[in-house]
Structures are given as C-alpha cells and as structure tokens.
C-alpha cells in the first residue's frame, strides 16, 4: 500500500476536528487515511495550494469567508485532480442539487453518519485510483509515441 489517503475536512464547527479524528481513528491509525482540517473555503484553498498530496475535500456548505458551494467552483482551478464531497443539512435538497451540478463527487448529510462517510471516501478513492491509472497510461502513451506532452493538464478535462 502507498501513502495514506489525504482528506481535507472543511467545517467551521470547533468540535469537528476531534469528532472526525475520534470516529475515524480505525482508519488513521493503520495509515489508511490522513486528515487535515480547515475552517472555511479560503483556508481550504490555501491548504490545497500548498499540499499537492490532498486527494479528497469534504466540505460543509455554510461557513464564513467562503462557503462550500463557492469552494467547489474554485477547487478545479487549484487542483483539478481533487474530488469533492459536500456536507449538507439533512434534506437540504436545493443545496445538494447545486453542489452536485457544480461537480461534487457526492454528498453526505449532517449529522454525519460516519459509516456513510467512510463508504463514500472509499468509493471516491476507487474512482480516483481508476482515473489516475488511466491518466498515467495516457502519459505513458504520449511518451512512448515520442511526442511532446500536451501543455494542457489532462486532469482538468476529467473535471465535471
């Protein structure tokens, strides 16, 4: 197994970090997952910019400075290979639909069902792995054909 999956959790609630760390410890301890935390969209984008290893962003919607729906739109500009999962209030269909249309990979409702979160992270991870394998064979193809690599980041096209 490679490095742990790095998940950026974005929420302005102060007890969010200890809760996630506690409930996900069975994934953190064996080195499956590694969590980083941000309080709002602006901080989240900063972290994404700094840390190229982040695989998945799980973000709340209502936050100060920059909300989760705006963050969703900004993520592909910073790192097109990242997948996003949105945290929404239970039954908040309007925001969920907006998030999905803006390219969220999936959504989770609050209060967080941690089994659902884990299942969703796993699905996202399988999806990302498949993408990366396919994209790396495309890169290998370009190299093997002896052509200069495209200046367009192929991952950007993978975004919805």
């Amino acid at each position: 197994m490679g490095r742990p999956y790095k998940i950026l959790m974005v929420d302005d609630e102060p007890d969010f970090e200890p809760l996630v760390t506690q409930r996900m410890r069975h994934r953190i301890r064996p080195g499956d997952y590694c969590f980083v935390f941000a309080n709002n969209g602006v901080d989240a984008l900063d972290l994404l910019q700094e840390d190229q290893d982040i695989d998945i962003v799980v973000s709340d919607i209502n936050m100060p400075h920059m909300d989760g729906l705006t963050l969703l739109e900004q993520i592909p500009r910073v790192d097109p290979s990242v997948r996003a999962v949105i945290l929404s209030a239970y039954g908040d269909m309007k925001n969920i639909r907006t998030a999905m249309r803006r390219g969220a990979f999936d959504f989770i409702t609050k209060p967080i069902d941690f089994n659902d979160l884990e299942e969703t992270i796993e699905r996202t991870r399988h999806h990302l792995d498949a993408w990366r394998t396919a994209l790396s064979s495309r890169d290998a193809l370009v190299t093997a054909q002896g052509e200069p690599a495209s200046s367009v980041d192929p991952r950007r096209e993978a975004e919805n």
């Binding site: 239970y90 039954g91 269909m93 639909r97 999905m100 249309r101 390219g103 999936d106 959504f107 409702t109 069902d113 659902d116 299942e119 969703t120 699905r123 993408w131 394998t133 396919a134 994209l135 064979s137 495309r138 290998a140 193809l141 190299t143 093997a144 054909q145 002896g146 096209e157 993978a158 919805n160």
Partner: protein, 396 residues
C-alpha cells in the same frame, strides 16, 4: 478527447426504467430535440428485470435512468446488479422521491453517478444527464489511451527486437584483434547503434552513433542512418569521406529535423593503424597497453543530417599490441546517479586505468558494470552503448 464530436457518432443510448406508463411519452416529448438531432436515443423498461435484459442485449447502452420503487426488481437492486452485466460501461442516475435521503444515499453508495427527484425537473435532469455523459466520454477516452498503450507496447516490442536484431551480435575475433559491443536501450526502442563492417584487405569498419531523439521516430532514423553508413563504408576507403556521403544523403531527406552523431573508424590489423572521423560524437578513449587511458583528439566534424557540404576530417593513430579503443555514446557519460551526478568521461578512464582491459568483451562488460553500479536505482534515461576494439597483445 473532445466531447464536441459526439454529434458525429452514434447517439447516446439511454435506458429509462420506470413502471409509470406516462413517463415514456413525457421523455420523448421533452427530449425531442436531442432525439431529432440524433445525439440521444431512448429505450424504456418497466422494471429492473426488464432493464437487465436490455442491458445484456445491448452493450451500447451508455446510461441508465432508473426509478427506485418498481415491481419485480426495484432500482436499488438494479444498481447492485448492473456491475454483473459484462461488456457495459454505463453511468446511472436514480430518480427518487423528493427528500428521500435514505434511498438517495443507498443509491449513491451503490454506485449511482447522481440522482434527480420527483416530480421530474427536466432542466435538472438534462444537466445531470449531460454531466454524466461528459464524464463517461472522458473516462472512455482515458481507457482508450490505456488500450492504445498496450497495443503500442506490443508493437514496440516487435520494433525493439527488430532493431536489436540488426545490431551485430557476433564480432570479429582473430589473432590480431578483437571487437565487442553492446547497446542497452532506455526505452523499448532506442536511437543508439553500433556497427562492425568487414572491409577489403582485412580491414574492419567500426561505427558508433546516437540519434538526437528517442522512441519510434529515433529508431526509424537510426535504421536509415545505419543502412546509409554501411553502404558508404563499403564504397569509400576513408572514414571522413563516408561520413560526408552519409551526411549528404541524410540531409536531403531529413524532414524530421533529427540528427545523428557518429564516430566512424577503420582499423587495419596489418599495420595497426586506426583512422577515425568524428561527426559531432564524443571522443574515443585509448587505453594504452602499458597503462593509462587518454581521450583521442576530436576531428572537428559536426552531427550528420543538419547541413549540407560539410567536411569530416580524419585522423590516424598507431595502435600498439595490447592497446584498446573504447567508443561510447553519451548514455555512458551522462548516466546519472541519485544525486544527479553524471558518470562522466573521467570515470571511463578510471575504469580502465584501474583494471587494464584483457579482452574486448571483458572491457565492455566492465564499463557497463561500472555504469550500473554508479547509477544504482536511478532509472535509465538514455540508450547506453559501448564498442571496444583491442589489438591483440602478441600481434605484430
């Protein structure tokens, strides 16, 4: 991978699964523009069982839009079953009751791409549909690269063995002299080559060369360079003249703007003279029988294929019994270790100063071993080629 070309190919086949009879005319009506343009076509099934039958019959279905509550087999069970249908690659959209979070979450975790709610908002459905199809298109493009890569790798293997097969594998070994050479390509096919050409009066032509590029184009250029050089070598008695002719021929038909550096030499075992001419290649190393390794001076020629009417001066030196000439490509000198240091020409000299060559084959292996030890786990980035000529110790 362009989504824009979708209008030119077959329509997207969308299977709509719902037990409400009103849905079919409604979809056909709301999607009529897409259907008329030929970009989308719709099929209908009344429940999960019928949907699976249609999926089994038609591997060209791209998308499933399914209701959840249906007789015989519901939408959530259908989602579970779809991965068991072979030869299909579909995206699924689930239609759920508004706010039915539990079913929506189950559907998503069973692999639905997205969901829409009832009563159907056709704008949302269309956006969701297009997003899913775009996703599918991108995924298929990525998969086709993977397939193309496998196909190309198979072809490269054939190309590589063809290329390797034209490099001489048996070398002259007489009482007077021995030759040995080896090339290790960085990729399946390489741009380096060497050649050993038997000439009249017992002379032997020795060439080493490096094409500017890598991969298939370089391999093709290498093949034609090698053929031209062989032809010129047999016709012309002087290395510089042979390079001049090869340069003219390569330049005439060089639309790819590639070039090749060549060191071509002729050894005369009778006299022990070694005459060489350099077309932009690295200087040969001469290892003296009495010890010490020196770089031979360059002769001033440039790489072949770039410009016409170029002179390639030749130079002749005398090889004493036991003297060794080492020809190599920059894959040797520029081989890099984990710290980013290059092997360099001094290390070639050191290898042979520390262990004077006893035999051309042994000397070739010694150099390859030294390079391998130097680079360690660092991946090879260029072809590595070396050719060694040794005048026998007891030749007179």
């Amino acid at each position: 991978m362009t989504v824009a070309t979708s209008a030119m190919k077959r329509p997207y086949n969308i299977l709509v699964v719902d037990d409400e009879p009103d849905l079919e005319p409604l979809i056909m009506q709301r999607m009529r523009r897409r259907i008329r343009r030929g970009t989308h076509s719709f099929e209908f099934a009344n429940d999960g069982v019928e949907a699976l039958e249609k999926l089994n019959d038609n591997p060209e279905i791209d998308m499933v839009i399914t209701d959840i509550n249906m007789p015989r087999m519901d939408g959530l069970t259908l989602l579970d079953q779809i991965p068991n249908v072979t030869d299909i690659d579909v995206r699924c959209i689930v239609v759920s009751a508004y706010g039915d979070m539990q079913n929506i979450r189950t559907a998503m975790n069973r692999g639905a791409f997205d969901f829409v709610t009832k009563p159907l908002d056709f704008e949302d459905l269309q956006i969701t549909m297009e997003r899913a199809l775009r996703h599918l298109e991108e995924w298929r493009a990525a998969l086709s690269s993977r397939d193309a890569l496998v196909a190309l790798q198979n072809e490269l293997e054939v190309a590589s063995s063809t290329q390797q097969s034209i490099l001489p594998k048996t070398f002259p070994k007489s009482d007077e002299y021995q030759v040995f050479a080896n090339m290790e390509p960085a990729r399946n096919v390489g741009g380096d080559f060497y050649d050993v050409i038997r000439l009249e009066s017992g002379k032997v032509g020795l060439a080493i060369a490096d094409v500017s590029d890598k991969g298939v184009p370089a391999a093709l250029f290498m093949m034609s360079s090698r053929t031209l050089l062989k032809g010129a070598a047999i016709g012309l008695a002087e290395p510089g003249e042979a390079l001049r002719e090869v340069n003219e021929l390569l330049y005439e038909e060089n639309e790819t703007m590639m070039f090749v550096t060549v060191l071509y030499s002729i050894f005369d075992p009778a006299s022990g003279t070694f005459t060489y001419s350099n077309g932009g290649h690295d200087a040969p190393v001469l290892v003296r029988a009495g010890g010490g390794a020196e770089l031979l001076s360059l002769t001033g020629g440039v790489a072949l294929g770039v410009a016409p009417d170029i002179n390639f001066p030749s130079q002749t030196i005398q090889l004493d019994p036991g003297d060794t000439i080492v020809l190599y490509t920059d894959g040797v000198t520029e081989a890099m270790n984990g710290d980013g240091d290059q092997f360099g020409v001094e290390r070639i000299q050191e290898v042979f100063e520390a262990n004077p060559p006893t035999d051309s084959e042994q000397a070739t292996h010694a150099l390859f071993d030294a390079v391998r030890e130097f680079v360690g786990d660092t991946p090879q980035s260029d072809d590595i080629t070396c050719l060694v000529l040794r005048r026998a110790q007891d030749s007179t």
